[in-house]
């Protein structure tokens, strides 16, 4: 093409572009590029190939076409606007005015969905970020929900589980106390409120004979207990009433787990004899695999059930060890049963004032006993993870809003073509719902992985923790949460995008100034809210860490990693005398002390952090006041000489127990510091006498020979109670614990220990082998678990907030490019601009922290219930959290701020 022709084409094209302004803006936007292209092609073909003479022809045709059609378009648009203003259904059909025809609602929804998909596909980066953010938030919530579902929401594996209750007989001031055997028989005989009632005791039993002896978890229970639970055997039968009366039947019921692990799922086990605690029992039934026994804070499968027989072997009315479960009779409420039991308790108090004076009865639903504190802690965790989801939602809302500013022209066109605000809203909400559903689907993956991790970390004392998994309810929750989330984060951007001012948007192609200001305010508000939530989470995590530190810093024992702890149980016979020696134990200890590497060894009936028997121990110089009987309730245990030394407990005064202290007539005991301070606050406790019981005929009398340092009895977080150690008297308890201090690795001693024990008695297994340090370690599992989760959520929140702050600041800075460009052009130096941006961030963080402090104060009671040794408003923790947040936000806004400074003023002002 010659130069002349080329310039002719160029001029024509320019003129054409000018003439295109005759068309209404919305038409121009749609077709301008194409029309220019087509015109250019036509010019190239005609003028380029055939010469300038074709020019007039082209122009004649095009000019006429432009004038005519542009006028027609304007008229059409004007007509459409006025009919819409008059409330009609639209200007008509596709090719001219037609009568309006109804739309099928499904059509446009499908269209919305397809359009939304296309939009998301076109912006894969945006879609990925949004979906991942949502997946993280929804996934975390789903994982916690699955824990809640397993532990709290799933019904108990018993028929009509709401009818199951427990019975306790505490004195005023206490919540729970087991029953004594004589009391149990009286309650059982007199009560009318239950269709089935049973008592049980949890024991560790030795199963031996055909294989290595094994210590298993056992339940001694009455036939009524299994009836109350509605248990059904998988093979054989359950106990009959006469088997749990006196004399006890020599029968046993085996669990599915034990049947498979020890007896190889032998189908002929029913009817065979097995050795339990060296007694021959006949297996009468095998429980199904889903059977769970409801215990204190647990719902586990026991290994073996044996009969509890009491008639004739009743024993002391003052010895409390039986737990009772009953099924309410039809039509009887918990309150009604409670009233009846309290009446029975009153009668017993009159008949047996020594033991039952002021002792009441309490009926408590079984659910409360099994779940205990788990419910509250889980709800708190659920609330916290909900915070994280809220932060994720607000991030996504901000992202959507930023994206929507690029779509104002599209919205304007849709609006001018007859889409009302509700229609536009629906389009936007469809998009956010689709994003949310994708997020929900990926969230299931996140949750599945999270649950896998949770399963390894979850403390085993959380009831039903072993049943954790994803089921239908969890999936429904995930998608329900996704839809709700979609609505939540979608509504504000949708409202904002659909409420645009038509003509101004089309003319300016961007938001109006007022709309922009509103958007900025919204974004800032969102970030501040996120910062407040994150502050609460971060300070909470810091407080939890400190609590964990407080709880696990034991310091009670010296060198607990060097102490081997092992358990065994053995019936040592009963005798006339309370205090007799136990030759088996003495022999065992002698052999153990002779093993290489052993520094010292001892035995006891209760380990640190364990609860156990309590008894009334009356100190010298005190008189018994019936109302104050609780004052003297003391943890009582047996200890061999050298036990406390081996364990690593400090002896504060006096000396350790010696063999001569177990002689009748010169009994010596050890007390802990709490007991000594309570009993004889000003005097030395050494030599003071104590007696067992408050009556004139105590079951023992002894002198204090030593005082040892306090060791916690009720877990890591309860204070220390008074405690006393007697020399061993075998009838006290079957279970024994050995404490062995070694030079090297204590676990290296285990096999030698096992063989010594087996040598002395092959039917007695060694069990529960660990170090003393492990005991303290596992006691902290629950707290460690909560701390880990809260810390994880705080980290996720911080990441989300950082990303959100960065994005919002970058967006806002871009919006203010125009203004910043002007400032720079007018001579503002770069530090001032930086100060502008950073100043805004700083104010944002301050507002967020202030709001967060308010939130922490408001939730302080809830937060405080999770803590140990530190208050929820600890100033150091709060200050650290505030500082951390400040640094994070300033770092996040630094990059956009620097970019703002580097803005080219000319470019900024041009892009407007």
């Amino acid at each position: 093409m010659t130069a002349v022709r080329r310039s002719a084409v160029a001029v024509s094209v320019r003129l054409y572009a000018l003439l295109l302004r005759l068309y209404p803006a919305e038409f121009r936007v749609r077709f301008r590029t194409q029309m220019m292209g087509a015109f250019r092609d036509a010019c190239h073909e005609q003028i380029g190939e055939h010469g300038l003479t074709r020019g007039p022809t082209i122009w004649g045709r095009e000019l006429w076409g432009l004038l005519r059609e542009s006028a027609s378009e304007r008229v059409r648009l004007w007509r459409a606007r006025s009919t819409r203003a008059a409330g009609q259904a639209g200007s008509g059909g596709p090719l001219g005015p037609r009568r309006p025809v109804a739309t099928r609602p499904g059509d446009s929804l499908l269209a919305d969905i397809k359009f939304a998909f296309r939009g998301l596909r076109r912006n894969p980066g945006f879609t990925a970020v949004v979906v991942l953010t949502l997946a993280l938030g929804i996934g975390a919530n789903t994982a916690i929900f699955s824990v809640m579902r397993t532990v709290l929401l799933r019904p108990f594996p018993y028929p009509e589980a709401d009818e199951l209750v427990t019975l306790w007989t505490p004195k005023p001031g206490f919540a729970f106390n087991p029953l004594s055997a004589p009391d149990w028989l009286d309650y059982q005989a007199s009560s009318r409120s239950f269709s089935a009632l049973g008592a049980y005791e949890q024991r560790r039993l030795n199963v031996s004979g055909d294989a290595d002896p094994e210590r298993v978890s056992g339940i001694r229970c009455t036939a009524g207990l299994l009836r109350a639970l509605g248990a059904q055997p998988a093979h054989g039968r359950l106990f009959r009433d006469e088997e749990t009366a006196d004399p006890a039947g020599q029968v046993a019921i085996v669990s599915d787990h034990l049947w498979k692990s020890r007896f190889g799922a032998d189908s002929a086990l029913v009817g065979r004899q097995i050795l339990v605690n060296q007694e021959s029992l006949t297996v009468i039934g095998i429980l199904p695999s889903g059977f769970r026994f409801p215990g204190w804070g647990s719902l586990r499968e026991p290994d073996i059930l044996v009969p509890l027989a009491l008639e004739g072997q009743v024993g002391d009315r003052g010895s409390y060890y039986l737990s009772v479960i009953g099924r309410l009779r039809e039509g009887v409420s918990v309150e009604g049963a409670d009233e009846e039991m309290k009446a029975i308790a009153a009668r017993l108090a009159e008949s047996y004032p020594d033991t039952n004076y002021r002792r009441i009865a309490r009926v408590v639903p079984l659910r409360t006993i099994v779940l205990r504190g788990a419910a509250r802690n889980l709800w708190i965790l659920f609330g916290i993870v909900g915070f994280v989801l809220l932060i994720a939602c607000t991030n996504v809302a901000g992202l959507l809003m930023a994206r929507n500013t690029g779509r104002n022209v599209e919205m304007a066109i849709r609006s001018s073509m007859g889409a009302g605000r509700p229609r536009l809203l629906r389009q936007m909400l469809t998009e956010s719902s689709i994003l949310a559903l994708f997020g929900g689907a990926v969230a299931l993956l996140v949750a599945w992985w999270g649950i896998g991790v949770l399963r390894t970390l979850i403390p085993s004392n959380l009831p039903r923790a072993d049943e954790l998994g994803i089921d239908l309810h969890v999936v429904v929750f995930a998608f329900g949460a996704a839809l709700l989330t979609g609505l939540l984060f979608g509504i504000v951007p949708a409202l904002q995008a659909s409420g645009i001012d038509l003509s101004r948007s089309l003319r300016e192609g961007a938001l109006t100034v007022t709309a922009r200001r509103a958007q900025t305010r919204f974004l800032l508000g969102v970030i501040i809210a996120q910062l407040a939530l994150t502050f609460v989470l971060t300070s909470g995590a810091g407080l939890m860490l400190q609590s964990l530190w407080n709880a696990t810093g034991s310091g009670e024992l010296h060198g607990p990693e060097q102490v081997l702890i092992a358990a065994y149980s053995r019936d040592s016979g009963r005798g006339e005398e309370i205090i007799i020696t136990d030759p088996f134990q003495d022999q065992l200890l002698e052999r153990v002390r002779a093993l290489p590497g052993v520094l010292s060894a001892g035995a006891t009936t209760r380990l640190p952090l364990q609860t156990g028997w309590t008894a009334g121990i009356m100190p010298e110089g005190h008189t018994h006041e019936p109302e104050e009987a609780n004052r003297y309730f003391t943890y009582i245990g047996c200890a061999s000489p050298d036990y406390l030394g081996a364990l690593g407990v400090d002896l504060l005064q006096g000396r350790d127990l010696l063999p001569q202290d177990s002689m009748q007539g010169s009994l010596g005991v050890l007390v802990n510091r709490t007991y000594a301070e309570q009993a004889w606050p000003e005097e030395s406790p050494l030599g003071k006498r104590v007696q067992g019981g408050f009556t004139a005929d105590p079951w023992f009398e002894a002198a204090v020979v030593g005082v040892f340092d306090d060791v916690r009895q009720n877990g890591l977080e309860e204070g220390t109670e008074p405690e006393i150690y007697l020399p061993f008297f075998p009838g006290f308890q079957r279970s024994r614990y050995l404490a062995i201090r070694t030079e090297g690795d204590p676990m290296a001693l285990v096999s030698a220990l096992r063989s010594e024990l087996a040598d002395l008695d092959p039917h007695v297994p060694l069990a529960s082998v660990s170090t003393a340090a492990d005991i303290y370690d596992s006691a902290a599992t629950s707290r460690r678990f909560s701390t880990l989760l809260i810390g994880l959520f705080a980290i996720i929140a911080v990441c989300l907030v950082t990303a959100g702050t960065y994005g919002a600041t970058a967006f806002l800075v871009r919006q203010r490019n125009h203004e910043v460009g002007i400032r720079i052009a007018l001579g503002a130096d770069h530090t001032r601009v930086l100060g502008l941006v950073l100043g805004q961030s700083f104010r944002m963080v301050l507002a967020g922290i202030a709001l967060g402090l308010l939130g922490t104060a408001a939730a302080s009671s809830i937060i405080g219930s999770l803590l140990y040794g530190i208050g929820p408003l600890d100033p150091v923790a709060l200050a650290l959290a505030a500082l951390f947040l400040l640094l994070v936000v300033l770092a996040a806004t630094l990059v956009p701020a620097i970019r703002a400074v580097r803005v080219d003023p000319v470019e900024a002002m041009r892009s407007g």
Partner: protein, 147 residues
């Protein structure tokens, strides 16, 4: 002061018509205006962009009809809004492609409308034959008789 330049935004738009698609409605749109029908005809065999439609129409009508860009795009807008044509996603070979060109094709509804129009013409041709306004002699041969 430099006036800020507006950047035109390319909107890919798929309008939904305000009518349901069925034969009755296709028929209701006929008779079509000439440019519209020509455009439908041009897109009947393959998808084309704007200028290619102009060229095709020129070919179909044996150079008798030459659409201007204004006429063409006004018609394209009406056809798009009515759901008779749609923009395609497919682009030709990159060597031949031009980003500024939008390609169009008939929708099923558009095909129906085109067919309805052809039916109408066939019907009218039949009427003309009945009335002996024309004969079935091949084009170009019986033209003197027809006048």
């Amino acid at each position: 002061m430099v006036r800020p330049r507006r950047r035109a935004r390319d909107i890919r738009w798929k309008a939904r018509p305000l009518m349901t698609k069925n034969a009755k409605d296709a028929e209701a749109i006929t008779p079509l205006t000439a440019p519209v029908f020509y455009i439908l005809l041009a897109l009947a065999d393959r998808e084309r962009h704007g200028y290619a439609i102009i060229k095709e129409v020129e070919t179909l009508t044996e150079r008798k009809v030459r659409l201007s860009t204004g006429t063409l795009y006004a018609a394209i807008r009406r056809l798009l809004d009515g759901g008779l044509i749609e923009e395609t996603e497919e682009r030709p070979h990159p060597a031949l492609d031009d980003e500024r060109r939008r390609y169009y094709r008939l929708t099923p509804f558009g095909e129906e409308v085109a067919r309805a129009e052809v039916d109408r013409m066939i019907h009218l041709t039949g009427v003309a034959l009945d009335k002996k306004l024309v004969s079935t002699a091949p084009v170009g041969q019986g033209s003197e008789e027809c006048r």
